[in-house]
Symmetry: C2
Subunit: 339 residues, 2 copies
C-alpha cells in the first residue's frame, strides 16, 4: 500500500467534482498533492481543499503527469478524450461518466458488490463508476441475490435534479422563485417545467422505447453482479427534488424470501440502512437520505402478485453514494491493494 | 330518460365536491334543482352554481328529500352514515368515498369499463366511484385486457397532494413559501415535508406491508374488470405536485401485444389520449394532464424483461377523471338509462 497519493480531479467545478473533493477531505484520503482540472470555462477559478485555495487548471497535455489517480467527472466526451491520456501519463482513472462503463476491458465497480474487479484496472488504466441509479440499486440487490437468486427486477425511479448537474438545481430554484412571484417559469435545461411537475424522461431515447438511463440500469446491473441472465425493466423519471434518487423495486427470486429475511439480510449489508417502521411513518425519503452515504431501504414486503417476490423502496444521495463517494471508495481500494 | 333531475352534492365545500359542482355545470347536466350539503364546519357558506349563489346546508335528516341523485364526497364516515339515509329519502347515491366500494351489493363503476354494473344500483341505492389511482389505470387496462388478456400489473404511482384535499394543497403552498423565505417548513397534514421531497405512504398501512391505497388498486381493479385472477402489486407515493397522478405500469398479458398494437388500441379508447412522441419529448406530465378529463398515456414499449409484456406511463387529473368527472359520468348514465 502506498502511504499517500497524488490525485487529480477532472471536472472539479461540477456538482460531482466538488463532492469528490469534499469526499477526499471527509474520508481522510491520504492526498499528498491535489490537482484540480476543468474545461476552459472554469479558467481562473479556484476551489478549497483542506482549507487551502487550489487554482483550477485547464485540462491539457501533461495535466496528469506526476499524478497517481485521476477522478473524472466531466462528461462522456472529456472522458473518452482524456482518460487514455491520463493513463499514458501515469494516472489510473476512476471515471464517473458513462463513456467506458460497458467496455469489456474496463471494470465497473461498486465496492460493496464487486471490489475484486478493480484488479482488472491495468487493461486500460480505467475503472468505471456506475450510473447513480444503478449504484444504489445494486448495493441492495447484491445481498438479496446471494441469499435467494435474483431473477427479475421491475424498477421505477424518482430522480433528483442534481443528477443533471448544478444547472438543473438552479433551474428548479429559479422556477420555484418565478412561481412564488407570480411569473411564468422558464425551462432551459429540461424540455418541461420541473417545479410542481415531473416527467418520465432521463437521457436520450433508444430504439426499443427505453431511455439510455433505463438501459444503463439493465446493462450495468448485469455487469456489476456478473449475471447476464438477470432481467430488468426500468422506468426512470425526474422529480422536483434537489438531492437523492428514490426507487420502487419489484423483485422476483428463485427461492422464497420472507419480508423478515430480506430485512435481516439488508440490516447487515454494508452501506445500507434499513428504515422500515410503517407504524411510526418511518420509510426512506429524499430529504432523509441527502448528504450522507447510506442507501436507505424500507417498505420491504412480500409481493402479493407473484411467488418468491419482494417489493421494496430505496433512497440514496445521488451525488454522494451515487457518484462521488463510490468513486473515492474505489480509489481507496486501488491505493490500499494495488498502488 | 328523465328530462331533468334534482341533485344533492354532499361534501360540496371540499376539493372534489367543488369540482363536482363545476362538472355538473360544464357538462350541462340537466339540473332542475341543486342542493349543496356539508358538515357543521361549512355552516353559513355559499357556493356558485350557474352564476347563482347557492347556500350550503348542514347535512341532516331530510336533507335528501325531493332529490333524485346525491353525489357524495365527504369522507367514508359521512358516506357510511348518510348514504343509506339518502336512498331511504329517495335519492340514488354516487359515492366517492371508499366506504361502499368493496360491498358486493354495491356496483363500482368506471363508465369506460363497466357501465352495465350501474343496473345493480337498486340493491342499496348506492353506486361507488373508485379510487382516483384506480380509475385512471383501469381506463387504460380495460381495452388492453380485451385485446390480449391481462395477467399481472406492477404499478408505481406518483400522486398529487390534491388527492389528500384542499388542506394538503395549502400545506405544499405554505412549505414552498417558507422555504422561499428561508424559514423551516411545517408539516401538519403529512408526517413528512412534501415540498422538495416525496414518500411512499398513502393511506394507513395494512398487515401485509402494503398500504390501504395500494390494496385499493389491487381489489378495485379486479372488481371493475370482473377478473379476480388479475395479479396486481402497487407502490403508491406522494409527490410535490398539485394536480394529476402519474403511474408507471409494467404489464404482463396472455398474448403478445406489440407496442404499436397497444398504441393503436389506446388511441381508440374512450377518454384516453395517447401522448407518445419521444423524439419531440412528448409524453404525459402532471401539468399537461391537469384540468381536463383525459387519461394521457405514453412511453408505450415492449417490456424487455418478460414475454408478452408492455410498459407504459399514464397521467390523469385526480380530482376530475379520478373523482368528480367519473361520478358525474355515472350520474349521466343513471339519469339516461334508469331514472
Amino acid at each position: 500500500m502506498a502511504a499517500s497519493c497524488r490525485v487529480a480531479v477532472c471536472g472539479a467545478t461540477g456538482a460531482v467534482g466538488n463532492q469528490m473533493i469534499q469526499c477526499l477531505e471527509e474520508r481522510d484520503f491520504p492526498v499528498s498533492e491535489i490537482r484540480l482540472l476543468a474545461s476552459e470555462r472554469s479558467r481562473g477559478r479556484s476551489l478549497k481543499f483542506k482549507g487551502q485555495e487550489v487554482p483550477v487548471q485547464v485540462i491539457g497535455k501533461g495535466s496528469f503527469e506526476g499524478m497517481d489517480i485521476a477522478l473524472f467527472s466531466a462528461g462522456g466526451g472529456t472522458s473518452k478524450q482524456w482518460a487514455p491520456q491520463a493513463w499514458a501519463e501515469g494516472a489510473v482513472v476512476v471515471d464517473n461518466s458513462s463513456a467506458w462503463r460497458m467496455d469489456p476491458q474496463v471494470p465497473l465497480v461498486v465496492p460493496e458488490c464487486n471490489p475484486e474487479d478493480i484488479a482488472r484496472y491495468k487493461n486500460k488504466g480505467i475503472i468505471a463508476n456506475p450510473n447513480c441509479s444503478t449504484i444504489q440499486m445494486v448495493v441492495v440487490l447484491k445481498p438479496l441475490h446471494l441469499a435467494a437468486g435474483l431473477k427479475r427486477v421491475v424498477v421505477t425511479t424518482f430522480q433528483a435534479v442534481s443528477g443533471t448537474g448544478q444547472k438543473a438545481i438552479f433551474e428548479l430554484q429559479n422556477q420555484l422563485k418565478a412561481i412564488h412571484e407570480g411569473n411564468q417559469p422558464e425551462n432551459k435545461v429540461y424540455p418541461h417545467q420541473i417545479a410542481l411537475n415531473l416527467f418520465p424522461h432521463i437521457g436520450p431515447f433508444t430504439d426499443n422505447g427505453y431511455t439510455e438511463e433505463e438501459m444503463k440500469m439493465v446493462n450495468e446491473t448485469r455487469k456489476i453482479l456478473h449475471e447476464d441472465g438477470i432481467l430488468v425493466s426500468a422506468t426512470c423519471s425526474r422529480v422536483p427534488v434537489y438531492y437523492s434518487h428514490s426507487e420502487a423495486l419489484n423483485l422476483a427470486f428463485e427461492r422464497k424470501l420472507t419480508a423478515k429475511e430480506a430485512r435481516d439480510i439488508l440490516a447487515k449489508a454494508p452501506l445500507v440502512k434499513v428504515v422500515d417502521e410503517p407504524a411510526t411513518n418511518q420509510y426512506p425519503t429524499p430529504l432523509m437520505a441527502a448528504h450522507q452515504d447510506y442507501t436507505l431501504v424500507g417498505r420491504i414486503r412480500e409481493d402479493i402478485s407473484q411467488a418468491n417476490g419482494i417489493d421494496l423502496w430505496l433512497v440514496a444521495d445521488n451525488i454522494r453514494k451515487g457518484a462521488a463517494t463510490n468513486a473515492v471508495q474505489i480509489a481507496e481500494i486501488l491505493l490500499r491493494d494495488y498502488l
